[in-house]
Subunit: 418 residues, 2 copies
């Protein structure tokens, strides 16, 4: 059978499994999750030996050290994967809950009930732990999942998927609740993205290039974020100590992630007091600063920023800095150059805070806190399957609730339409 | 300038207007809506004279009588359009409301605030009243709209749009909040559907052919429903009087709409008592019945249904009927042949009702009521912009709430991530 046929069959199988999974009880789903966690621990040697093959192959093909690190599993990482799956089992089941219910004048009772989306495809890069994370979240929310990982991690992913499928079957659910595309050929993804008859949603996880390619080709709705060009705006009335703490945290606590600050905007009236301290603290942490002309006068070590810098997601120890004349100008900058991910104001001014929260149109808008909190766990969701900067279905951190949709249930007693 | 350039410029203009509209106050938006309603009444002669040109052109080109009827405006219809716009002004503004708000252990307060989606394109067929209906709902929910109506109604739509734009400007909002694509060329739609940089959502309204063509071509998310193959299942324990009333209402009260019943499923144990009465009542209303073999024994006037009949949306006085052995079989039939729109059970059995509501995976699932209630007004939303049988963002009747999305606002006091 050729690749496209196999992918289509897999999608069809996932659709059928999804119908059964959608009606599985919370107890059965949690049982499957516990078995999955146990299976990961019990199958550790198998998973690690398959992972070693991936790692050697990757080393031979000369991929970067960072990618080798992302790819490599060890006893600890497999234990963590199992623990994550177990934690998902403990979260509340979103399905079947009624968001709201109301009565119409004709006494019809209408309720909005949470139900699974159906079949979700997750396309990701080299981290094998994404396999078990995504499988567990989809299963918990009643969705069948089709996983497509990077070519470097194919053996690890297949091993993990095998363990997960066995656990799902042991719990009495169809093995096809969890599926893996085992082809590394690009044709497989192209074909997968055409299965709009069987797949309801695609969530790509990875770099901007991967995500753009998927969004371009997909016939299925895609929820995604391309990048996180996050800003912290230090208002003229900012508490300087808090502003320093927040900017430092947003930039250096973990610079390689999408919710880290990439551009700092500073009101001209506070720049004289704030900038010398900020530049010193940032440079002590090894941050290279690229600034507008006005900012450059605060330190000879600030390099001149180009227009491209304002759009840049550095994902590293580089920061763009701009001095602005007003909160309006800061918000204008964010609207023009930002990516609608996470943006913060630091201010003691009540009106400025309110206006920023209202007018900045990003998935997450902060007043006096670090942008680094944009994360499903930090928001209290107990999980995260991705972040959306799109404008339909979900924005910001996505977890179990965002993997569901609703149906209306209408309870009558013989009502007819007049 | 060629068509694609003009369409792109229009999309860009709508995006810019949407940024201003998103921050307009409820008062200003309602003012614009009142001016729009007043403008429709004041501009009635102009609108009617442009409409007469469309109608004559349509008659010359020999379109169907039904389409001429949908196309034709008169004093009453324009008054109704204005009244609808005024009614939208009276609805609550969905924007800025906080769905929920919670506190994290670190005292961060996180709120989910409703905001407009951005720019919405509506592609529809020949009814000119859709122009003002959609424009008013989009404006109320803070979205800029790009309207693309059918070629037959182009002069009427342009006249209505001109009136609406003048009203929007009079209220101090950008004219580009309401836009109309004035080309009847197909290239215009193809180009419109590529403007994913400026347009956030496409809602097509019309026949299945139009909608499929749009879904196929669009690079922008589309929310839609193809058709309504709605079922009423008469369970073995149904109250026969209620079942007759509901089935009759679902089939004949307005057979040409998507929430009308197309297939009636009858439990074998009640068929002997129910079918003769049902067939008589339906036939008295002029309904042609196409049934399974078992159903045919209840009347010589029942024609044999083909496999294609179970998939059919008749939109007229034809009904498919099938006798089933169990509620399971009925639900299986609905899952296989239904369109996920609206399906009902009629029963006095508590467990059967609960199971149907839980297991049938349609946008609207009814217990003991007519499927004809699937409608934004009947649900109490005060409006309707369309119905979705998709599985992300919104399902069932869509109104103001469904034209919005949320952003997270995070209120801190210097919190940083550990």
């Amino acid at each position: 059978m050729d690749i496209t046929c196999i992918v289509e069959k897999k999608a069809q199988g996932a659709r059928m499994a999804s119908k059964i999974l959608a009606n599985a009880s919370s107890v059965d789903k949690d049982k499957a999750l516990i078995y999955m966690a146990d299976g990961l621990n019990a199958g550790r040697d198998f998973i690690l030996s398959e992972n070693r093959k991936d790692v050697s192959a990757a080393k031979r093909s000369g991929v970067s050290k960072a990618m080798i690190d992302r790819l490599t599993l060890d006893v600890c990482r497999v234990k963590d994967m199992a623990a994550s799956v177990k934690a998902v089992a403990k979260l509340p089941d979103p399905c079947g809950s009624i968001d709201k219910m109301w009565k119409r004048p004709n006494r019809l009772i209408i309720g909005k009930m949470r139900v699974p989306i159906g079949v979700i495809a997750i396309i990701y890069e080299s981290r094998p732990n994404v396999t078990s994370d995504c499988a567990s979240l989809c299963l918990k929310s009643g969705n069948a999942v089709i996983l497509k990982g990077g070519r470097e991690s194919i053996r690890s992913n297949m091993a993990i998927c095998k363990v997960l499928q066995e656990a799902v079957m042991k719990a009495g659910l169809p093995a096809d609740c969890v599926n893996m595309i085992e082809f590394t050929d690009r044709k497989a993804v192209t074909c997968l993205l055409k299965q709009d008859k069987y797949i309801d949603l695609v969530i790509p996880r990875g770099g901007e290039g991967l995500i753009r390619a998927i969004a371009e080709k997909s016939r299925i709705p895609v929820i995604k974020h391309y990048k996180g060009v996050c800003h912290v705006y230090v208002d003229k009335d900012a508490d300087i100590k808090k502003a320093l703490k927040i900017c430092l945290n947003a930039k250096v606590q973990r610079p390689g992630v999408c919710n880290a600050m990439e551009t700092m905007l500073v009101h001209k009236d506070i720049a004289g007091r704030f900038m010398p301290k900020a530049v010193k603290a940032l440079r002590e942490k090894g941050v290279e600063i690229r600034g507008c002309e006005r900012s450059m006068k605060f330190s000879p070590r600030i390099k001149k920023a180009s227009e491209a810098d304002w759009y840049e997601e550095y994902l590293g120890l580089i920061l763009a800095v701009k001095i602005v004349d007003s909160a309006q100008q800061a918000m204008g900058h964010i609207a023009k150059y930002g990516s609608g991910h996470s943006d913060a104001i630091v201010t003691r001014d009540y009106a400025a805070s309110l206006e920023f929260l209202k007018k900045v149109d990003s998935a997450c808008v902060y007043s006096n806190a670090s942008t680094r909190f944009t994360d499903g766990f930090q928001f209290g969701f107990g999980a995260e399957i991705g972040i959306s900067t799109d404008r339909i279905h979900a924005r910001g951190p996505m977890a179990l609730q965002e993997l569901t949709i609703y149906k209306y249930i209408v309870i009558g007693n013989g009502q007819i339409r007049k």
